[in-house]
């Protein structure tokens, strides 16, 4: 091919430009060696893998370029890539082909390789076409700490952490010097906002500024890490990933009890639960041997999936959606991978097949929840446990009193009439004759029961005789039984299987049974069994009113002892109707006994009082137990569900069966631990516990890298890997790969201590730099990826609220508990599906931290949404940070924020007497610093104007101040300061971590 020299120059320039654009700041380190992972893989992945990648289904011409074997395979006399021979490599030929029909990528793909990209591929082949494993899938090896060369670039005061050396190396390569440390006031506010999400108090700032010891900063950091506020701030970051919310989502979106899980997260971070345990308990706490209540609550992580309560839903469909979400969330949170792509087809870019996706799916496919809140676990607090124990004690007492009563009453009876404590012996009557006044027919079954057929008259009397099996009768037992021949299976003959027995009578010769009491295992409301012996033909016994209406029921009728002789003829008459009509019994069996009355617990006023007291206690306990929250937890079925590949992700189209296992491109997963422990299982089915242990085994290349990178992101505004949720081939490579690995290795070495990791980073010189703009670095490193300075970061939605409450002194310090309802504008809930009520909290609950605000997925608190809180329908690993007029309106006018301005004004006015002092105090409260002269002067002038203005409008002053005071001057003072406080709360600096 003929090429003019100018083209070569142009190509070289393009190549340089490409390299620069891909690795910002690399201008100083011209590299001639092509790196496969950094330079080549993205090109192949973006332009070629769609048709020549991992996915067999879409592979064209049998060529795959994602492995060296595939690329170098003999395709019949030629090969796509011939190492060191670009000229004879078909790939180069095809991508430089001038015939548009032959050129790759094909014209209809819309993809066009730039000259620079082509040159990169050529150079790579020339250098040997080395395929290296993608950086993120390589094992983590702790790199050596760079030895700093003598250079002008250095941290003022020296590097403070090994990690600074990695940063310095890149900076000096780019010819940049780091920024000086931020001033100490900025530092303490930065540390407090980053670690606690709250500003330092003026006293804390003063103490820190006064501490001149060399370790003052580290001590300040340690104090912050020990604060219980730490768990709230870092818990909230985790809750984003857990997609925590207080409602079920979708359309009905009713409330759920998820806050115990939220509190578990806060507590786990506060006690620095090692991240490996943190992972295992959340993914598989229920599968741990003898799982504690706390470990069960931890599994709420994956119960944050949505539940669709809409009528007519296919529960299996939404169970499936939840499993999909659990797989995708696990992939994103622990592995930084976009596994969701493989739900419908083998991943185009990452080496994850659809089959492997469903292997991951299988881990989560056996949980008991089916688009339901269940299973749950009761989470009683200490005080609730005390109350429960108290109930149990009183119930035991009441039971004892009742037993004592029975014992005493029994003692008063003649010996033969006392209870022997044994169960009542019933003799089934051998029925001899049976007649129906209404024309029904009877069939006697082998168990001695009668099935009724024939006419079902409006009213009827069954007359049944038998020879008494005992010498005396003290009670008659009537069993009403189900039978397939009866409507809905009976036991009654009415259409719903019910009956109403209006009267029961029994005669022996001339003597009639004199009923003293009747009991039944169930009586329908208003149809008590005693209605059958009360001589009122309108009352009677029925058995409906429950969801289980068509089951056998038993009644016992107790009579004054009826002396007979054995075999004496007994006639029993059962009377029904006429209203309701046709409510006759459909199958019955009779028995008698001669057991003494003592065995029947006959009614007695004193006994009834005791029994009622017991029942009341039992009901109270049940009601109280119901008020104890039941946390949603993961539980697996005794027998795992069989998982299938779902064709195109459609839950109705099942493909091959799969078992839980790890994808092949990641370390192999050991055999199931549960199977090893349980010898009775010969089949080894891995569980979530195996998955969790595999993720934190230390061998996994992603877990530590992804986690460390997100921690870094929260402390610097962006991660070392910018695509923090894509560590796959399509993601961006790390700016500081060795630093990322060093931190990951250090994290694991420390026993996965998150506090240790944070301390390491926060104490570094890199972190302590000033965040002021660096015009000199603008050109070389416009996005500040090399970290020649810190970044200014607007705080997250909840913290915006927290800052205003803290500065004004309104903040409630309470941690955890059910979510609360701070004021929100009227009508936000008016358009929700349920028109849910927003029971605005009173007292201290109005001033809780933002993270405790009740989160309704379909109508989140508007302030949260305005400041970029997502709706938590899916995992959120990084929130966007917008800056909009709606935020300005919120800061200026929201009820809660204006109330904070009023409270801050009252705090300032009460504390100091003159404006300059108050201004200083205000700056300390809001910004942890003193105002500059110009700031103070501006505010003084502003206050002067405001006073003059408000003096002329006493009513406005009254409204603004929010206080009722007879002294107009005081009102004006408070109003003027409210306006000034509102200005401060609305400054960019107020909601920015500098």
């Amino acid at each position: 091919m003929h090429r003019r020299p100018s083209t070569v120059r142009w190509l070289f320039a393009s190549l340089l430009a490409l390299l620069m654009s891909q690795t910002p700041g690399s201008a100083g380190q011209a590299e001639s060696k092509i790196d496969f992972a950094r330079d080549v893989r993205p090109i192949l992945s973006n332009y070629c893998f769609k048709c020549h990648g991992n996915d067999e289904e879409t592979r064209e011409a049998g060529l795959r370029l994602d492995t060296a074997e595939g690329a170098q395979a003999d395709l019949g006399g030629y090969q796509a890539i011939k190492p060191r021979e670009p000229a004879t490599s078909a790939l180069i030929e095809r991508i430089t082909e001038t015939d548009p029909d032959l050129r790759m990528p094909p014209a209809d793909s819309g993809l066009v390789l730039s000259a620079g990209q082509i040159e990169t591929l050529r150079a790579w082949i020339e250098q040997g076409a080395d395929y290296q494993q993608h950086w993120a899938f390589r094992p983590i090896v702790r790199p050596a700490i760079p030895v700093s060369k003598p250079t002008s670039a250095a941290f003022e005061g020296g590097a403070r952490s090994p990690l600074d050396a990695f940063i310095l190396r890149r900076l000096s390569e780019a010819g940049l010097a780091p920024s000086p440390p931020a001033d100490r006031a900025t530092l303490i506010r930065r540390v407090h906002l980053d670690l606690l999400g709250l500003p330092p108090s003026p006293a804390q700032v003063e103490a820190f500024l006064a501490d001149e010891s060399p370790a003052a900063y580290e001590r300040m950091v340690d104090r912050a890490l020990a604060s219980p506020r730490f768990g709230e701030k870092w818990g909230r970051h985790w809750l984003d990933q857990a997609r925590y919310a207080d409602t079920n989502g979708y359309t009905i979106d009713s409330a759920r009890t998820m806050w115990p899980y939220r509190d578990w997260v806060i507590d786990a971070l506060n006690r620095d639960l090692p991240f490996d345990r943190f992972t295992i308990e959340q993914l598989a706490g229920d599968l741990l041997p003898e799982a504690s209540q706390r470990q069960l609550v931890a599994t709420g992580f994956h119960r944050n999936t949505l539940i669709n309560q809409e009528g007519g839903t296919d529960r299996e469909q939404f169970r499936n959606e939840a499993v999909v979400d659990r797989v995708n969330t696990t992939g994103a949170v622990w592995m930084g991978l976009t596994v969701g792509c493989a739900q419908c087809h083998t991943h185009k870019y990452d080496p994850l097949t659809q089959h492997e996706y469903y292997q991951l799916f299988a881990f989560f496919n056996s949980s008991q929840d089916v688009n339901s809140a269940a299973p749950t676990v009761s989470v009683a607090s200490d005080s609730q446990n005390v109350r429960l124990a108290e109930f149990d004690r009183r119930i035991a007492e009441a039971k004892a009193a009742l037993a004592e009563f029975d014992r005493k009453r029994d003692g008063q009876r003649p010996a033969e009439e006392r209870s022997d404590g044994k169960p009542i012996a019933w003799q089934v009557a051998d029925l001899e004759s049976f007649e129906s006044a209404g024309g029904a027919t009877f069939e006697k079954l082998g168990d001695g029961s009668l099935v009724v057929g024939g006419k079902n008259a409006d009213s009827d009397v069954y007359a049944i005789t038998f020879a008494s099996p005992t010498a005396r009768i003290t009670a008659l037992r009537l069993e009403t039984l189900t039978h397939p021949s009866l409507p809905k299976g009976g036991p009654g003959r009415a259409g719903n299987g019910n009956f109403v027995l209006n009267d029961v009578a029994a005669d022996v010769g001339d003597a009639s049974a004199a009923w003293v009491h009747a009991t039944a295992d169930h009586s329908q409301k208003d149809y008590d069994v005693r209605g059958a012996i009360d001589d009122d033909p309108k009352t009677g016994w029925a058995i409906g009113g429950t969801s289980r209406a068509n089951v056998s029921r038993t009644a016992v009728f107790i009579t004054q002892p009826l002396a007979t002789v054995e075999k004496a003829n007994v006639e029993v008459r059962l009377t029904y109707g006429p209203s309701p009509a046709g409510y006759n019994i459909g199958r019955l069996r009779l028995s008698v006994t001669d057991a003494p009355h003592a065995k029947f617990q006959l009614p007695d006023p004193e006994r009834e009082r005791l029994a009622a007291a017991l029942k009341k206690l039992q009901e109270e306990r049940a009601a109280f137990a119901k008020s104890i929250p039941a946390a949603m937890v993961m539980r697996d079925l005794p027998t795992p569900r069989q998982t299938h590949v779902l064709i195109r992700g459609d839950f109705l189209r099942q493909g091959d069966a799969v078992k839980p296992d790890a994808p092949a491109f990641l370390p192999a997963m050991p055999e199931s631990a549960a199977a090893a422990e349980d010898a009775s299982t010969d089949e080894s089915i891995r569980t979530r516990l195996d998955l969790a242990r595999w993720l934190v085994s230390g061998e996994h290349p992603l877990t530590a890298r992804v986690t460390v990178n997100r921690v870094w992101m929260r402390l610097f505004g962006q991660g070392l890997v910018e695509t923090e949720n894509d560590f796959g081939l399509q993601g961006t490579p790390p700016t500081h790969p060795q630093l990322l690995d060093w931190l990951s290795a250090e994290y694991m070495r420390s026993g996965w201590s998150t506090k240790h990791l944070l301390r390491r980073i926060v104490c570094s010189a890199t972190y302590r730099q000033s965040s002021a703009a660096r015009p000199d670095a603008q050109q070389v490193d416009p996005l500040n990826k090399l970290l020649a300075r810190q970044s200014r970061v607007r705080v997250s939605a909840e913290i915006v609220r927290d800052l205003a409450l803290a500065a004004s002194g309104l903040l409630s310090g309470e941690i955890g508990g059910p979510s609360v309802y701070p004021p929100q504008p009227d009508g936000v809930y008016a358009f929700t599906q349920r028109r849910a009520a927003w029971p605005t909290s009173k007292g201290a609950d109005r001033y809780r931290r933002g993270m405790y605000t009740f989160f309704m997925r379909s109508a989140p608190h508007p302030m949260l949404t305005t400041f970029d809180s997502p709706a938590f329908n899916t995992t959120c690993t990084r929130r966007p940070r917008s800056n909009t007029p709606l935020q300005s309106l919120t800061m200026a006018n929201d009820e809660a924020l204006f109330e904070a301005a009023q409270a801050l004004a009252s705090r300032l006015v009460a504390a100091d007497d003159d404006d300059p002092q108050r201004i200083e105090h205000a700056y300390r409260l809001c910004f942890a610093r003193l105002p500059s002269e110009r700031e103070a002067a501006s505010l003084l002038e502003f206050l002067k104007q405001q006073r003059a203005d408000l003096q002329a409008s006493p009513e406005d002053a009254q409204a603004i101040s929010g206080v009722a005071d007879k002294d107009p001057a005081r009102v004006v003072e408070r109003a003027a300061w409210t306006v000034a406080a509102r200005v401060l709360l609305n400054l960019d600096e107020f909601i920015t971590r500098e």
């Binding site: 654009s21 090109i43 973006n46 066009v112 989502g249 979708y250 359309t251 809409e310 839903t313 296919d314 959606e321 994103a332 991978l337 976009t338 792509c341 962006q718 910018e722 894509d726 002021a772 703009a773 050109q779 416009p782 607007r794 504008p825 936000v828 599906q833 028109r835 997925r857 109508a859 949404t865 305005t866 970029d868 709706a871 329908n873 966007p880 800056n883 909009t884 007029p885 709606l886 300005s888 309106l889 919120t890 200026a892 006018n893 110009r934 700031e935 501006s938 502003f942 409008s953 406005d956 409204a959 603004i960 109003a975 306006v979 509102r982 609305n986 400054l987 960019d988 920015t992 500098e994």
Partner: protein, 495 residues
């Protein structure tokens, strides 16, 4: 945007550098506005930050909501989506089925229902004839029932779509499907995609506005106008009825307009000092945001004040100032379009006529038709008369239709049906007086002109000048788009 990799690179850069640029809500606070906010020197330095960023990333616009050129020649500039939440019964409004009358009370032939999924039907429900009177209207001869008398005026202004198909039959997922192209919450809505693709021309209003009427909000709530994984700048802003259409628009009691001016000035002054000290362009953005908020405090109530309209217009819509209604919202939608809002979404509930005591075909369908009939027609005619219909797309329809089989609850109703429902589209280059698609004699499935919700979405974007396959956003490793991996432009229905 011709190649995916570059799209991705630009998206990533745009996301990363977004904070470097001035932001606004529906208005260009570009360098021009900057001049009025900052001293000349400050403006210069802030501008340098800006232009340095722009030079590095020529594709990054000055602001996420500034107007952007479409992919191709656009027929329409704006959309008004009249969302009939709950699923209107096409069989009682738009298609007469004599055969259904003939077989009223019989089970549908098994071959018609095989393989179809329903939400509540158990398989024993029989065919239900419509009790409405139908006639053909206009030159196109579209059928209308007696429930929509005002629609007779627009039959020839409108493109009628029959045999439209969706994928999901529960309200929440189905509403999400029409709005975001996916049945799961978490994806950007059509209005977000549109403002992401085109920005907005509104000078002091959000680019994507949501209006609601009816007894309650639409099922799935704010996820219907969520920006999903797109920056929240593109999220729909729900306007409320009354003097405070935007949350927190009103100043606290006692804070007069004049005091607010001084307040905003003071905030700006102190913010400027901070900008000087730390040089972060984000502070300039915030200064601009406060200016914008201040001007919205007057422009938004002005917009909402429909009493400014002449009586004839109010009468045409059936709108009454101060009495929130669907009619008022239709009129507001027109006023928003006039002010450059890109996408207005109206939701009106409740069309879910299953046959329950409070949602049946006998009483409640006529009532809700009366609520929407006149204003829907008036909106089309009003836009036409003002010369706005050519560049505005009006869409009327819900998340699905209803079954030919009746559902017996307390009263008569129909179940959800996703295989053959109806919508209409007007303006924006859609053919007028054109009927597309036909359903079988029972109305169970399409016999010609079958089309899918994704096709409609692709076509709407097409008319806005956006290629639904190229309007993508890289999220979690995948290029997402409104139409997922489906959708084709329905060239038959556009001129």
């Amino acid at each position: 945007m011709n190649a995916k990799p570059s799209t991705y690179a630009l998206d990533a850069l745009r996301q990363a550098t977004r904070r470097q640029f001035f932001q606004r809500c529906g208005v260009g606070v570009g360098a021009a506005a900057l001049g009025t906010l900052l001293s000349a020197e400050q403006a210069r330095s802030a501008e340098q930050v800006l232009s340095a960023g722009a030079a590095r990333n020529p594709a990054s616009g000055p602001h996420p909501l500034s107007p952007r050129p479409p992919h191709h020649g656009a027929k329409a500039k704006a959309v008004i989506f009249l969302f009939m939440a709950g699923g209107p019964s096409q069989l009682d409004l738009f298609t007469d089925k004599p055969v259904l009358r003939e077989h009223h009370g019989k089970l549908p032939p098994p071959s018609y229902v095989e393989g179809r999924r329903f939400a509540f039907l158990k398989g024993t429900e029989t065919l239900l004839a419509s009790s409405r009177k139908f006639a053909r209207y206009g030159e196109c001869g579209q059928e209308l029932s007696d429930l929509l008398p005002h629609h007779r005026q627009i039959v020839d202004e409108v493109c009628w779509l029959h045999g439209l198909q969706s994928d999901v039959f529960n309200h929440g997922p189905a509403k999400l499907f029409v709005n975001t192209g996916s049945p799961q919450p978490g994806r950007p809505s059509m209005g977000s995609w549109t403002t992401y693709g085109l920005g907005s021309e509104a000078s002091d209003l959000p680019g994507f506005v949501v209006l609601q009427s009816g007894p309650r909000g639409p099922r799935a709530g704010s996820t219907l106008w969520s920006s999903g994984f797109l920056p929240t700048t593109y999220q729909g802003v729900p306007f409320r009825n009354g003097p405070e259409p935007i949350l927190n628009l009103s100043s606290p009691d006692g804070m007069t307009r004049q005091r607010e001016r001084k307040f905003v000035d003071m905030v700006s002054q102190l913010n400027r000092l901070r900008l000087e000290a730390v040089g972060d362009a984000e502070i300039a953005t915030r200064i601009a945001a406060y200016e914008m908020a201040y001007s919205m405090q007057s422009s938004a109530p002005e917009l909402m004040d429909i009493a400014q309209e002449d009586q004839r217009t109010l009468d045409a819509y059936g709108a009454t100032p101060g009495k929130p209604s669907y009619a008022n919202n239709c009129l507001l939608a027109r006023r928003m379009i006039e002010r450059g809002v890109r996408f207005v979404q109206l939701y009106h509930t409740n069309w879910d006529h299953h046959g329950g005591a409070s949602e049946n075909l006998e009483q409640h369908l006529p009532a809700i038709c009366q609520e929407v009939d006149q204003a829907s027609a008036a909106l089309v005619l009003d836009l036409k008369q003002r010369g706005l219909l050519d560049e505005t797309i009006v869409v009327w329809g819900g998340e699905f239709g209803r079954t030919p089989m009746g559902e017996v609850r307390e009263n008569t109703g129909r179940d959800h049906h996703i295989d053959a429902y109806s919508m209409w589209v007007a303006g924006g280059g859609f053919k007028s007086g054109y009927i597309h698609g036909k359903t079988d004699e029972l109305g169970l499935g399409p016999v010609e002109g079958a089309k899918h919700v994704h096709d409609l979405q692709a076509t709407l974007l097409h008319q806005l000048g956006l290629d639904h396959e190229r309007l993508t956003f890289r999220f979690q490793g995948r290029d997402f788009r409104l139409t997922d991996v489906h959708g084709k432009v329905l060239h038959d229905i556009i001129s």
